[in-house]
């Protein structure tokens, strides 16, 4: 039951995020979808990932998207058609992808077994793993985030300097 509610929330949010006309409404629907996904993670027993999802996606990415929409004045340009000429082909491609995935999932017997006993994934264990076995990926992701920070600032600031 909980799963059904969270799944419907996630899917409805995703559909609304990509079909509404007003871009600010799209960003809010996207936030709803991210919250639903965080609920699904919590239901699967991954507390840390669920809260990281809320912190990173609901807290940072959604706000970033709202900022981008407002900075590009996307909220004002709602005159463009919702269904451009290519939408039939795009929808067929997406439907084929969904059909193939659904066929693969439903035709496998392996995916139908019930839940195994609740695995332990406490924050302490995740911290231990991050500091021992996954220390190198952690350093790589730190480097990547630093590079992305510098890169985003450099990309966004360049045009203004040329204009002077």
């Amino acid at each position: 039951m909980q799963f059904a509610i969270l799944a419907v929330l996630t899917i409805a949010g995703a559909v609304a995020a990509l079909s509404l006309r007003n871009l600010v409404h799209c960003a809010l629907a996207l936030t709803l979808s991210f919250i639903g996904l965080a609920g699904l993670y919590l239901q699967l027993g991954a507390q840390f990932v669920g809260f990281a999802q809320i912190l990173v996606y609901v807290g940072a990415v959604a706000i970033l998207i709202v900022f981008a929409i407002l900075l590009t004045r996307g909220a004002e340009s709602i005159s463009q058609p919702l269904f451009p000429p290519t939408w039939v082909r795009s929808s067929i491609v997406a439907a084929i992808v969904f059909g193939v995935l659904t066929w693969a999932i439903l035709s496998s017997v392996e995916f139908r077994h019930a839940l195994s006993p609740e695995p332990e994934a406490t924050v302490k264990q995740i911290g231990d793993a991050l500091m021992s076995r996954f220390a190198l990926p952690l350093e790589v992701i730190a480097l990547l985030l630093t590079a992305a920070l510098i890169g985003a600032v450099t990309i966004a600031i360049r045009e203004r300097r040329e204009a002077k």
Binding site: L18, L44, V49, P84, A94, F98, P119, A148
Partner: protein
């Protein structure tokens, strides 16, 4: 009883919605939103396979999802910076009008 197939179906549906949105919508920000939804569908698969897999105590799926969220955050920041730069240059975020490199 919720089985692994339920989570995989939700994830597949989410991925297809993101794909349809990224291919259909002509606003650059909404294309990025579609890509974010596809990334989230992949994350849901990681967590679901970790939970229902044979060795959940190894924490591999959780770790992969955490690093995936980090990479997605970096991707969103750089992508939106690019969109804002393109907007400053072309005064639009409509992908059909940004066609100066069209052959």
């Amino acid at each position: 009883m919720t089985t692994l197939a339920n989570y995989l179906l939700v994830s597949a549906l989410l991925f297809s919605i993101g794909l349809a949105g990224a291919l259909t919508r002509r606003n650059a920000i909404l294309v990025l939103v579609g890509i974010e939804l596809m990334l989230n569908a992949a994350n849901l698969n990681f967590i679901a396979f970790w939970r229902y897999g044979p060795n959940p105590e190894a924490l591999t799926g959780v770790m992969f999802a955490i690093f995936s969220i980090g990479v997605a955050a970096a991707e969103a920041a750089v992508g939106l910076a690019l969109i804002i730069t393109v907007y400053r240059h072309y005064k639009t975020t409509d992908l059909d009008q940004i066609d100066s490199m069209r052959g």
